[in-house]
Symmetry: C2
Subunit: 347 residues, 2 copies
Amino acid sequence: MRTTLRDVAELAGVSPKTVSNVVNGYVHVRASTRSRVEEAIATLNYRPNLSARSLRRGRTGVIALAVPELDVPYFAELARHLVSEADRHGWTVLVDQTEGVQERERQIIGGLRDQLIDGLILSPLALTVGDLAARTDSTPMVLLGERIHNGPADHVVIDNVAAARDATAHLIGLGRTRIAAIGAQEVPEGMTARVRLEGYRRALAEAGLPYDERLVVPTDRFDRADGAAAMAALLDRSPRPDAVFCFSDVLALGVLRTLAERGVRVPEDVAVVGFDDIQDGRYSVPTLSTISPDKQQIARVAVDLLNQQVVRGGSGQADAAGPQEIFASYTLKARESTLGRSGGGPS
Amino acid sequence: MRTTLRDVAELAGVSPKTVSNVVNGYVHVRASTRSRVEEAIATLNYRPNLSARSLRRGRTGVIALAVPELDVPYFAELARHLVSEADRHGWTVLVDQTEGVQERERQIIGGLRDQLIDGLILSPLALTVGDLAARTDSTPMVLLGERIHNGPADHVVIDNVAAARDATAHLIGLGRTRIAAIGAQEVPEGMTARVRLEGYRRALAEAGLPYDERLVVPTDRFDRADGAAAMAALLDRSPRPDAVFCFSDVLALGVLRTLAERGVRVPEDVAVVGFDDIQDGRYSVPTLSTISPDKQQIARVAVDLLNQQVVRGGSGQADAAGPQEIFASYTLKARESTLGRSGGGPS
DNA sequence: TTGAAAGCGCTAACAC
DNA sequence: GTGTTAGCGCTTTCAA
């Protein structure tokens, strides 16, 4: 049998309540009593039963992180930061993988882990505004990514339109004029692929360059194979681009691969910019220019927002001012794939 | 107020026990009763309180996965598989990051999450045999990686010595004679770096090649920067290697980067083999030859072993036969970094 | 096939 | 500063 608070109380010759006070760091406990209790705890190797505590307190100390897949580098890096930040708040993180499946995402916002978690941080891929509006579960929730503006939930984003515009403008600034975009998707407004395309178009417009649909390549997903295939398709038709803006770094790594296979020089013949600043891009050949969202900030803000909701009473609602939308910062990191070797080594 | 089982019972006009029976799929419930209860559950949107259930049952349905860092590609990929496998067993996975810090690893095997989890899957980096022997916590546990043979815990590994030997032998088979090893570490016997070095030495010995300490480069960690620096050091002194065996793919990616910067041709001047078969290596330039452990198998076996322990009664002990050590399979994937472009495209 | 009662281990409320 | 009491929501006896 596991030792309980009661056992400790008996051994220390005090009441259960006193043990509870000591365990929970209540200050008004006489030093001598405290040390006696602590000694008993040590001898019995007592550990509080978290289920019982949760039942009583109505809080579990656990939050859920739901991402499409844990081994997509961007989500892996985000997860690392989120787990660290959550830890600082005394939260343990459990992980759900949605695989970007809508039904799965629906279940999760519907309260799949309802009674197990204090809150939920979700990076949705397929969820619609309607799904969110229909949500009845009141578990505190924070959304990550550009998905849904003005939705009914707190929300951490970066300004994807501006970032995509900056990335494209960087290519234009290098004198490129036939700039391709890889990663377009037929998805609802507000989704990542859409807003990044919007930023791309805006940069072209601002520079007085034409928008040429033949230079815009859709991909099913955002992975290396998609990037490689998209670049191959571009090289096999005209007009031939002199630069490529990829909607993710992983796509861009596939692009670099195809360019290397075809003997196309980067950046001399084709300059490449990605998005996400994953670690691989800092050591690829060539190193990858990219938009770098401040992932740690995203993680910190997300956990803070969640904490606010929990403190506020777990109503699932934002405060009177309505749901918050917080913009995290990003920077453009120009590396070899646009600047060439003059860009220096890994950064 | 959240709806409880009691509310459902009242609405359905039955006792709490009957609701419980329905919720838990107990068979001996009259169909009419069952449907009445199910209706009540639906109208009230009832969800069982998992804390209460855990408290009563003594099981939480949660297991912990402890890895050094979630954004190291190998662990990210492993985590993806583990979460999927755990899901198939009805388990939710919570994640702890140890950062490879011994004290942190000690806390975790010591029962940090003791009362929150049914079991623990740990990929230790710094733990000693002594730490494990001193463990008193009885939470079911499975260890991942080559760390400790004949230790007091169930354990999933691949045969690192054989795999490292195969990798090195592959290089020897290509006619290389000055084969460097990157990733050596001054660590206790049985740890990854040690066993891989052992396999390297064995391959050399079998081929009648001398073991040359100048070709063995230690690294603090296993990351891209370490690989890049190690390769730079090798190029700046003699003998100059004509091949490199890296103890991880991430190291190898750093190595490829340095070789590209220095204008050294791969594999013509230097052939490179890594270890782990992370996704990046399938699209790097050149693609990376590597040892590919069957990560899905590792995940499946680990979860199965944990499940066996839990079923057996959570004693933390293996069965009468003692702790089990299960070997997962691996394959050598020869790609461009050893075969050249004849090796074909991404595989 | 269903119900009544007890209690898992903890903490909140209140008394002393 | 410490003890007593009650009860969080569920499942497990045991009885009907």
